[in-house]
């Protein structure tokens, strides 16, 4: 029984991670100019990695670099610029065509939309960043669609669980047997020790949502579809902002007193410590954001680079070794997925605990 489970887990992981190889471009192996081909290959791999980690306006499953064909579907672009414009991103034709609406032209350059003139000029400033105007962009990009997908998965799983509890009493059946220990762990080891028996129930909704959302988003990022939700700093910024808002709004008098006018500390020290504590209030959610973003996107970049190594070593030994290494790192990424979700949830619970702390300490 044990052996069967281990075998099936290994089989599934090999299948999923083996599919990664198909999401890269195929390279022509018989180029006569060796040096040039080498440099082009490395540049192409670098551009590919950047492109896979960033957001995109269409969902590409496969693409063929020789014919330039890509297989996927394009997503709607929604711009607000003197009125609402909605169109499919296939009008941009991967950045080759300008979209002409009214009397403004829009150009897609490096997965951002800019307003240009009729010729599509993009003026660059000293650092090489474009200085054109940008319209207000509310498009449904790949990340928005993926977040909606993860939310749908979460909703389906947990509403199904709630229904099965309502039907069968408190003993879980089926997939409830997997999720109940996790939910209880979050309640007993994360929420109650940090927030305390009296107030923890108010925050359980948020903590559970955050934990499962980050965990499932990280897991989806490991699949070969090239979806990168939590590796996008805007998404982690939003999550950290939510934690920040909840701590500020649930801060009671003790919390603010501890920040600005700590009891039991001489007055000169209080004046020095107050700005530092104020900075700490801002830095703690900022660190949450950076920690999650950096861990996940660094992991993605490492995996893509190792897979790109397969194409640089054009030999059986080198390619298979780099594939093996990419496999090992992918398994590590599975651990990092749940660990980062756990850390985010635990630190959020810690901050909520600080905010709602009753006066119990003897300073």
């Amino acid at each position: 029984m044990q052996k069967n489970i281990i075998n099936s887990i290994l089989l599934v992981s090999f299948l999923i991670l083996g599919l990664h190889g198909f999401s890269q471009h195929q390279e022509n192996l018989t180029k006569p100019e060796d040096q040039e081909a080498e440099k082009d290959l490395k540049n192409e791999i670098k551009n590919d990695i950047k492109h896979h980690v960033k957001d995109a306006y269409s969902f590409v499953f496969f693409s063929n670099s020789k014919t330039g064909e890509s297989y996927g579907f394009s997503l709607p672009v929604i711009l607000i610029d003197n009125g609402l414009h909605v169109f499919l991103s296939s009008k941009f034709n991967n950045g080759n065509k300008l979209v002409h609406i009214g009397d403004t032209y829009y150009k897609l350059s490096h997965s951002k939309i800019y307003k240009t003139d009729a010729k599509g000029t993009i003026t660059l400033n000293a650092h090489g960043h474009p200085t054109n105007d940008k319209p207000i962009d509310l498009s449904i990009t790949k990340n928005v669609l993926s977040i909606a997908l993860v939310s749908l998965i979460l909703f389906l799983i947990f509403s199904g669980l709630a229904k099965s509890y309502a039907k069968n009493g408190l003993i879980p059946k089926g997939i409830g047997r997997f999720f109940e220990p996790i939910v209880l762990y979050i309640r007993d080891e994360i929420a109650i020790p940090n927030i305390g028996e009296k107030h923890y129930k108010k925050y359980m909704n948020y903590l559970l949502t955050i934990f499962f959302f980050i965990w499932f988003s990280n897991l989806i990022g490991i699949t070969p579809f090239g979806i990168n939700i939590t590796g996008n700093i805007a998404v982690t910024f939003a999550l950290a902002l939510l934690t920040f808002i909840i701590t500020q709004f649930s801060g009671n008098k003790n919390y603010w007193k501890h920040i600005f006018w700590m009891p039991g500390v001489p007055v000169p020290m209080k004046i020095i410590l107050a700005p530092i504590e104020l900075l700490g209030v801002l830095i703690k959610p900022f660190a949450l954001m950076i920690r999650l973003f950096a861990n996940i996107s660094a992991g993605h970049i490492v995996i893509y680079s190792l897979l790109g190594l397969i194409f640089i070593f054009k030999s059986y030994l080198g390619s298979s070794l780099s594939f093996g290494l990419a496999l090992v790192i992918s398994v590590l990424e599975l651990l990092v997925a749940i660990l980062q979700a756990y850390i985010f949830t635990m630190l959020s619970a810690l901050y909520f605990g600080f905010a709602t702390e009753e006066h119990a300490e003897a300073h």
């Binding site: 660190a287 920690r291 950096a294």
Partner: protein, 63 residues
Amino acid sequence: MEIPGIVGAGLIVIGAGIGIGRIGGSAMDAIARQPEAFGKIQTAMLIAAALIEGIAFAALFAA
């Protein structure tokens, strides 16, 4: 491929490695003293390691 960037990245990794190594070491000592407390010590070790890694990654992205 600038030199200062790479040297900075190397220093950051050394710092993170030393920090997490020390945490791991003291966690091992604590577990050896009291094997029943393995769960709590492991939890605390992972939290401290994640905090240090957070700073290390943030600095790595800047370098």
